[in-house]
Subunit: 338 residues, 2 copies
Amino acid sequence: MSNEIRKDYILDRWVIIASERGKRPTDFSVRPSERSKTETCPFCPGNEKMTPPAFLLYIPSAKGVERDRDSNGERRSDWLVRGIPNLYPALRPREPRSLSADELHEREDGVGEHQVVIESPRHDEHLDRARVEQVRLVVQAYIDRLEALSKWKYVSIFRNHRKEAGASLSHAHSQIIATPIIPKKIANELTASKAYLQSKGSCPYCDILEKERDTDRFICENESFVTLAPWASVYPFEFWLLPKRHQSTMLKLKEGEKGDLARMLRTALGSLAKVLRDPPYTFGFHIAPSAREIEHFHWHLEVYPKLAIQAGFEDSTGIFINVTPPELAAESLRDGLK
Amino acid sequence: MSNEIRKDYILDRWVIIASERGKRPTDFSVRPSERSKTETCPFCPGNEKMTPPAFLLYIPSAKGVERDRDSNGERRSDWLVRGIPNLYPALRPREPRSLSADELHEREDGVGEHQVVIESPRHDEHLDRARVEQVRLVVQAYIDRLEALSKWKYVSIFRNHRKEAGASLSHAHSQIIATPIIPKKIANELTASKAYLQSKGSCPYCDILEKERDTDRFICENESFVTLAPWASVYPFEFWLLPKRHQSTMLKLKEGEKGDLARMLRTALGSLAKVLRDPPYTFGFHIAPSAREIEHFHWHLEVYPKLAIQAGFEDSTGIFINVTPPELAAESLRDGLK
């Protein structure tokens, strides 16, 4: 096999697929996770005073799970999921200042929200190894935050797994940043999917689901979700989770779909962890802005394992070099399901 | 200072400038470079047989420096600069195959060139600490390659410094990849600078040079070049080198300008190494494609220190978070000049 240059399904994003090197899982050396047991974890139960009060708590109750929040300076420690403000927020909620600007120096005030979802009271209950009912609560927390932050132009829900992928704490958690602008990557997807719909009469993501099913990039599915390695994967072992039902954001997920999403997350991330020995990765939900339903968009989750270093060529050209063709990645990730 | 969101001078690229955190050089922990002395370096003189024959050699001679190449299976070892094919090329020069494609699966054959410029016979003679006459030879080698590869749509000249920034070998070297497509980042700069010229009647980079001179983002200059920390720096301590004379590629650099570029590289990278204890960085030349002079473009070099990890938020939104405002970066880099 020779190298080829592939374009993303709909975006003007190109990647050199280095089939010649065709790196398999064993070609990547991933160091075992380091957990500094000696330091006190601010996200573990009992240490809630080390963090701001929670605005979201899922508490076990006789009826199942109840929603609560910290109040009166108290911190509850009997939670299953805990949502708190980030102690070092990239953006803060406040009245926006008006800032001077000119033609070459445009800017806006850095207003927004930066929050943390602590996914489990158990330090190491990461999504790849969590109990499905726990992942189901995390999914519910994402949807809760999406609703609560819908006044912002965009709500980015993402996860950094392991220090090498930007996680400053090893306790299982996700992050949420609400921004006063629509991020460019999302804007590009909105523009490209709209153009596709106008020219083809269909949603590009629905077409991707349909067409990739019978290729060697398909990884797995359940009743509501599909996992696949995308045609122009920019990262080795990159995969996407897509809902089968056309929907532009997660706000109207049905109860059954929430469970299916939890199971699919657990399954796909579980395979990744197994095949590559718990590698660093980031994931991010790509959703329609502002809780609006947008006909031509189809939300999905993109998972990027961090096994290679993005360097000068990628930095200065925007062309990625992926040393593991998605077909090879999908084969390994299918094997990891067994 | 509160955080703000800045837009690049001309591109639709936004960055959260985290002034609140305002990380100074001492806030970053950079580990000392590791050099594995035990392994034989394939780029050191005497080990030329470990690499392909050189297509470019600068050889000291009575008249100054002569140009040569390896031939007849021999490898010269008396070189000052050595240009060779990359042993693991991302793209190869050959007749392009015609590849099947469809609406959602576009691709091109992976043809092109991938070369290495070994910058010095001395293993550790990196640009930040090199003798200026040696940097001058490296600049000449870049221009030589640009000419030799001008049949390709684009020639990317870049450098990965230290392992953390993607350098697989620690011997001082740069890389060159010639591509059969115009990279998107360059295409975006071409489009934006053309639009700027049409609306303002001037080159945006000439205007940047003019306007930034009197700001606290200015770092230093010599007769032909300026170094500045750009308004919307995406990386902590990012800086750009720009030629004062309007020119879209480096092919017509005058002899004096080549020397000035060598001195400016040495000075600016020297300050970075001093201030941040030889941090990992990448740099890339942004030039007009295909050796053409393009009226609205103005070549420049962008240097990206790698001090923070790009993670899930950046990955999924394209919005960067920079914890060191460029004004603070420029102040430190100006101090480093002393």
